[in-house]
Amino acid sequence: MHSDPASVRASLRKYVMIGAALLVFTVITVAANRLHLAVPFAITVALIIAVTKGSMVAAVFMHLSNEKKWIYGALLLTAIFFAVLMSVPFFTIMDSIGTPQPAIGVGEHPAGH
């Protein structure tokens, strides 16, 4: 991260512009919600905007666009574990333990029994 006075002075305008862009994206999020889009499409739009806003905060306000490799390494590890955590709900869908199995009807016994 460049934090000498000259580059900090040059960044002041960028901070305000990013703040304004985040507010505009918030307005777009609320406006998109009023359109009553189909649920899958609404979720996609809302999450794309949220990810965009989050990336702007992380890159500019948290200075992640210009950090040391140790920070990137720690965050890469976090991202991997986070991805595993987010995939847990899908494991629950794939899991059939505890799901009632359909009853086997008369005449459907496996051959030889």
Binding site: S3, D4, P5, V8, R9, S11, L12, Y15, V16, I18, G19, L22, L23, T26, T29, V30, N33, V39, A42, I43, A46, L47, I49, A50, K53, G54, V57, A58, F61, M62, K68, W70, I71, A74, L75, L77, T78, F81, F82, L85, M86, V88, P89, T92, I93
Partner: protein
Amino acid sequence: MNIPYTVEERPDSGLANGKLGIWLFLASEVMLFGALFSTYIILRTGATEWPHGELSVPLGALNTVLLISSSVTMVMAWAMLKLHNWGRHRLYLLATFALAGIFLVNKYFEYSDHLARGEGPSHSTFLAIYFTLTGLHGLHIVGGMVVMAYLLGPGARLWKQNPDQFTNRIEYTGLYWHFVDLVWIFLFPVLYLL
């Protein structure tokens, strides 16, 4: 005895201890909120019906605006220290503190409105996860305000003794604060809009 690498960067990592420390802390926070978001997905996909429009979108949007504005004032508070403008720094940090306070006041009205109607966490699965997620986030806001109050009050003395170390403390507080803002950026659409 002085603690090493509070200001100067370590030769191995190129980072001051506090910087690496706050990022590791934030990594653990990602996992904490990640677990709750994962729980939310499980509860929502497993529910036969999910309430829509139970929360006040204008109030949620206003809180989003407040937190985004507080992120701007927080980064400006740090930038002003880098430019050795103490007066402006105090003003921006105070503004961040005030915006956080207004956020909590809004949240108080939102909570009390629900509770007055008997809609506590035990009322439905949606309200249970809503109160858990926003309650934990609210505690993070309170934690940030406590640190800011310290840096506005007794902690400000460090500026005269060791300005670089004080600037680093503001930077780490800012990193935490931006993370709290980032979490809300995801909470708002997930809870209020979808």
